[in-house]
């Protein structure tokens, strides 16, 4: 199957959605699940193939646009399609308990969100990437406003404004790149980036940094992020945390290494990541809204990832990618479970953790929390220790100390929630999880445990990804269309 289908199939699905809707909600839901399932199975099939894979549009690269799948994007592709499968099953439950919602349009935006994210990681043309960026943008604006209440619309408007700022900077950067090197192909840009006048290259890098950094929720530009999480529904939160933020992160570091910026800007990105981590974790301590709390936690984890991914050492980067995968799964788990909780208790205050009674959900949350905190035998542990090991190998002890110290702060609020769940006092309401969610949460929790016990299953792919990221010669060859 050509890589182009990752984008074209969701598009054709979205265009035909009005007719699926007419055929009944069963067809609609079924086809959406089928779509995400096909894409997921296809992604798994790619793990057995020789990488990189390429799919060209109209004309050979570097002139035309192509989708290139290397080790780095394969990992993200797996994460995204897997999240899509899980969330599309979860929505069965959501629309059962919220029957009045506009189901068809949700599926349109949901599928295009995934397709756009996949497009962002596959495209080897920066302008094409910008279009996918906007597709993801529009889908996420609309999904965060999906509730159509005050909170939802407010978050939608805020996201849209921030997204517009980011896109203006990115467009400006792309224009400057085209003016300077006369191309928008990532391979050619990577080859010729050093030829740009240094001052202008700083300007370009800065604009790309502001553009993607804003969307990837880096510190001084992430004041909007918790609002977005608070205003949208939990499954969308899960998508934002485990797909959208990760897609922007992907692009950020893809360009970072491709343009050879790592030596010059490594320290800067690391410091920014560290500040993001610190500020978000400290801020999270004081939150009383669960969604905001987990939003801050996401920001904090992104901070760690920014610290670790910028190091230019394959050990640390591989660890960071492992951590990223595990974080995606854990956050999806937490947000999906949270959605069930919020639905039953009709509140988003932190106190809901003390008000429910369900052994299953308690275990699920505990697994998620422990995994995010990096406690064995869950998958987060492997990621964290790989990151720490990588930092240790480069003798960057301050980073180790920093991560560990701030992690204690992180533990404060995660274990506060855990303690509230385990607290026996007070009136507790029984929460019924529902069959589909039971299976889904079990699958996610099982993955967390399996990757924790047998990390070599995943490390194979993260190593592949880290090598592809740091040393993108294969990618460049395909992006430049050499030997096609």
């Amino acid at each position: 199957m050509s890589l182009g289908y990752y984008f074209l199939l969701p598009v054709i699905f979205s265009f035909l959605t009005p007719y699926f809707k007419k055929l009944g909600s069963f067809t609609l839901r079924g086809s959406s699940i089928l779509l995400s399932f096909i894409l997921f199975v296809q992604s798994i099939a790619y793990t057995t193939m020789k990488l990189p894979q390429i799919s060209q549009f109209s004309i050979k690269p570097p002139l035309g646009i192509a989708f290139v799948l290397d080790g780095y994007s394969l990992l993200f592709l797996l994460i995204f399609t897997f999240s899509a499968v899980i969330v599309s099953f979860y929505m069965l439950w959501y629309f059962k308990v919220n029957p009045k919602r506009d189901e068809a349009r949700f599926y349109v935006f949901f599928n295009m969100l995934i397709a756009g994210s996949i497009g962002m990681i596959l495209s080897c043309d920066i302008f094409n990437l910008y279009i996918f960026f906007e597709i993801v943008g529009i889908c996420s604006y609309t999904l965060s406003a999906y509730n159509k209440d005050k909170l939802g619309l407010e978050s939608g408007i805020k996201y849209l404004i921030i997204g517009s700022i980011a896109s203006i900077f990115i467009v400006f950067a792309i224009m400057l790149i085209y003016l300077q090197i006369g191309t928008v192909n990532l391979g050619l840009i990577a080859q010729r980036f050093h030829e740009i006048d240094p001052k202008i290259s700083v300007l370009i890098v800065l604009m790309l940094f502001i553009g993607f950094g804003t969307k990837a929720e880096l510190f001084p530009m992430n004041f909007w992020a918790p609002d977005i999480y608070q205003g949208s529904i939990s499954s969308v939160n899960g998508l934002f945390s485990s797909v959208v933020a990760k897609a922007y992160l992907f692009v950020f570091f893809h360009l970072f290494y491709l343009f050879g910026l790592s030596s010059k800007y490594m320290l800067f990105v690391m410091v920014i990541g560290a500040i993001t981590f610190l500020v978000s974790e400290f801020t999270a301590l004081n939150q009383t809204n669960v969604k905001r709390l987990f939003a801050y936690s996401t920001l904090g984890q992104l901070g760690i990832l920014f610290m670790a991914l910028s190091t230019n050492s394959s050990e640390t980067v591989s660890g960071a990618l492992f951590h990223l995968t595990s974080h995606s799964i854990s956050k999806l788990l937490i947000f999906l479970a949270l959605g069930i909780l919020i639905h039953h208790l009709k509140s988003t205050k932190i106190s809901i953790f003390g008000d429910f009674k369900s052994r299953f959900l308690t275990i699920i949350f505990a697994i998620g929390f422990l995994s995010i905190l990096g406690i064995p035998p869950f998958s987060g542990f492997v990621g964290k220790i790989l990151i720490l090991k990588g930092f240790a190998l480069s003798h960057n002890y301050s980073a180790i100390a920093f991560i560990l110290l701030v992690s204690i702060v992180e533990a404060v609020y995660f274990f506060r929630l855990t303690a509230m769940m385990l607290d026996k006092k007070g009136t507790k309401r029984v929460v019924h999880v529902g069959f589909i969610n039971y299976i889904l949460l079990c699958v996610l929790a099982a993955l967390i445990v399996i990757f924790g016990l047998f990390p070599s299953l995943l490390i194979h792919y993260t190593d592949l990804a880290a090598n592809a990221l740091i040393n993108p010669t294969d990618y460049l060859k395909f992006a430049l269309g050499v030997g096609l």
């Binding site: 279009i131 005050k150 619309l153 408007i157 517009s164 700022i165 224009m175 205003g231 939150q287 905001r292």
Partner: protein
């Protein structure tokens, strides 16, 4: 005097100054305006400035639009078509975002009677 304006360099200079001035009008707008519609308009101004900038810098004196007609049989001496194509795409995207933003604004206004973005503070802890 007119020859001066007919050189590529001076045209580029004028375009840079003009488009950047426009860009910073938009910049100033998003930094100071609090009305949602005005903010969206400011974004559009910034985008338009970028379009001018990009297209303008790809014009060189003596080049014509990249379309062959009966007189020009080959594609030589024409301006670069890629920026035009890119701008075309970006315009449509800008339009889409604007429409979406306005529809959000309308709904929000209906619910709350406000369109001041600095007073959107329901989302807080």
């Amino acid at each position: 005097m007119l020859d001066f304006f007919n050189s590529t360099q001076s045209i580029h200079a004028i375009i840079i100054v003009g488009s950047m001035a426009l860009f910073f009008i938009g910049f100033y707008g998003i930094a100071t305006q609090k009305n949602l519609v005005k903010v969206l308009v400011s974004f559009d101004i910034m985008e338009s400035a970028l379009f001018l900038f990009f297209i303008g810098l790809h014009y060189k004196v003596g080049l014509v639009a990249p379309i062959v007609d009966d007189k020009t049989k080959t594609f030589t001496g024409m301006v670069d078509p890629v920026p035009q194509a890119m701008i075309l795409t970006t315009i449509v995207i800008g339009l889409a975002i604007l429409a979406l933003g306005l529809s959000f604004g309308i709904e929000y206004y209906k619910l709350t009677g406000r369109n001041d973005i600095s007073k959107m503070n329901e989302l807080r802890d």
